[in-house]
Amino acid sequence: MAAITLKDIRKTYGDGFEAVKGVSLDIADGEFVILVGPSGCGKSTLLRMIVGLEDITSGELTIGEKVVNDKAPRDRHLAMVFQNYALYPHLTVFENIAFPLRLQKGKFTEEQVREKVEFAANTLELQDHLQRKPANLSGGQRQRVAMGRAIVREANAFLFDEPLSNLDAKLRGQMRTEIARMQRRLGTTTVYVTHDQTEAMTLGDRVAVLRKGELQQVASPRGLYEQPVNLFVAGFIGSPPMNFLPGEVDGDTLHLPVADVPISSELKEKLGDRKLVIVGLRPEHFEDASLTKDAAEGTVSFDVNVDVTEWLGSDLYAYIPFETHADVASKLEELDRDLDGEGMRTQMVVALDSESRVRDGDKASLWFDPTKMMVFDPEGGENLTYDADKVREVDQQNEQDRKASIQRAQERESAKAS
């Protein structure tokens, strides 16, 4: 069990390509941190530098108070679960899990090895499969064997490299909860790499968003969702993704393609003398006016033509095309590319109540609360409405919740043991 500290870690390859550009991160003992970002952002490279499979070009990596930059993977006492499981095909499940123990010749008796392997197998419901070979197991079972191999060593930290991306959607959901359960029970520091923001939001105590080798923001999932620090984080977190509309500042009004929003005095201060901004509104901030009696005070109502709708049972997604401003079009396209998107037309997504009667081609009456709106600078992309205090508050609350749930889990364990 150890804390991991990354201080200004950089990675430059032989041909000059900078994969990681100065990332600093503090991971507390027992914390579950997620590294998330689109493909090519350097998250896997960062993970491999932590475990020792890649050299660190510059910067300092500390595991449990010791600087480990030059230590081989075997000396760092970490356990890693790979994307394609990396099970030894010629060994049975039992031997696969026992492999790390057997490498430490003489340290464990045969009896101890068996005990440890069985404990790990029981934690992951593998006790019936111990004598089978990996080739005969399903994807989920193989992933659990890989996790068993990681647990059995009682390592300082667990590292996961996109472990669920090879599984189908349903299995992914089940394995997610398995991983969460396992981590809470064992209380081991965990670093988890994924490109799926759903996994990031649901599993992590804190999430670090990376883009092109640079750390964008580290905060609790709630902090990232409510207070993204820039355009990239805002667009990455949340599904369906946030809508970005160009906003023209005109005195006290902000002209959006679909509506005009009055600018409050605080917002005016933050806008400075910008004439053009990018406004972010999450799909769930919109409501169907026909379903609510009266729009509340301070909300902005507007009528739009709806292009396509998708009814999912729990929600209704309505797609509303709009004209974007030429000056922000290129910035938004670049953002779309960074987020691995292939947006073909500018359109807004709104998530309405499933009772809504809005359908394809309809004219809909919608309203939204402008205080939920986020305003971004069109050049640099930073969030002008970012509230650092709020984030701190949310993160502190999050930290308290985390410690409490670990406490509860440990009490449960000791109650079970006694």
Binding site: R74, F82, A86, H90, F99, P100, L103, R149
Partner: protein, 280 residues
């Protein structure tokens, strides 16, 4: 697959028989010749008129024994040693080539390819002089070294294809689990590469065993002469008799074990040759 009509089946049967006869006739001819009396060699029949073991006796216990038995021992010894060295060296080289990116990697691979397509006959004369000068002429070592040049290229290529198939994550997982590079190689990779190593050893053995040019040019006595070369020196009982019977018997003795080995391990050999071809 369409089910075969009886007519089609007959045609397939005929073609199979023709192909088998075409391929195996020489082999059976040699086996038959090895059982013929020397005096009856020119009778023109396929099967011997009188079946006799005299050819075998001659080469194993009779007048040709001093020519044949030492050469058999030489062949087995030299081929085995050359194969062992080639496999060990090729395993290490192929592992490096498959896993690492180092300066000179392309050079090594193209050199290996170049060496293997170079005509052997053209370098035999200079080698003969060189070996005479440094005292390797007519020794086992003097043959093992050229045999390495024959067997290493194909061994490296075959084994590199094998290693490339094994995902790198296996060694990495072993390293994270606490193994040194050598332990990771030995415990995670070697068991998986064993079929490849075995196949490569077989291929290398055949190449060394069947060599003729080096065998005949770099030896002069039975100290190091291998079997294919020794067969060229067989003489008959008198200057009018051809040693065809003895040669056939020797060929049978030399070929039959190889055929048995291939038949026993044919599945491994074929999978070994095709493994590197397709991913997965």
């Amino acid at each position: 697959m369409r089910t075969m009509t009886p007519k089609l089946r007959i045609w397939w049967g005929v073609i199979t028989v023709l192909v088998l006869v075409y391929a195996l006739f020489p082999v059976f001819s040699i086996i038959a010749t090895s059982f013929k009396l020397p005096s009856q060699l020119n009778l023109g029949t396929f099967l011997p008129k009188t079946w006799t073991w005299s050819n075998y006796e001659q080469i194993l216990t009779g007048s040709a024994k001093d020519l044949f038995l030492p050469s058999l021992r030489n062949s087995i010894g030299i081929s085995l040693i050359a194969t062992a060295i080639a496999v060990v060296l090729a395993t290490l080289a192929a592992y490096a080539i498959a896993r690492l990116d180092f300066p000179g990697k392309r050079l090594i691979l193209t050199t290996a390819l170049g060496v293997s397509i170079f005509p052997v006959v053209s370098i035999v004369t200079p080698l003969f002089n060189l070996w005479r000068n440094i005292g390797l002429y007519d020794t086992w070592l003097g043959l093992i070294i050229p045999y390495l040049s024959l067997t290493l290229p194909i061994s490296i290529w075959t084994l590199a294809a094998f290693f490339r198939q094994i995902p790198w994550e296996l060694e990495q997982a072993a390293q994270v689990d606490g193994a040194t590079s050598w332990q990771a190689f030995r415990k995670a990779i070697v068991p998986l590469a064993a079929p490849g190593v075995f196949t490569t050893a077989l291929i290398a053995f055949f190449i060394a065993w069947n060599d003729f040019v080096y065998g005949i040019s770099l030896t002069s006595t039975s100290a190091a002469r291998p079997v294919p070369a020794a067969l060229a020196f067989f003489t008959g009982a008198s200057q009018f008799e051809e040693p065809t019977g003895a040669i056939s018997a020797a060929a049978v003795i030399v070929t039959v074990p190889v055929v048995i080995l291939v038949l026993l391990f044919q599945r491994q050999i074929v999978s070994g040759l095709t493994q590197g071809a397709v991913k997965g």
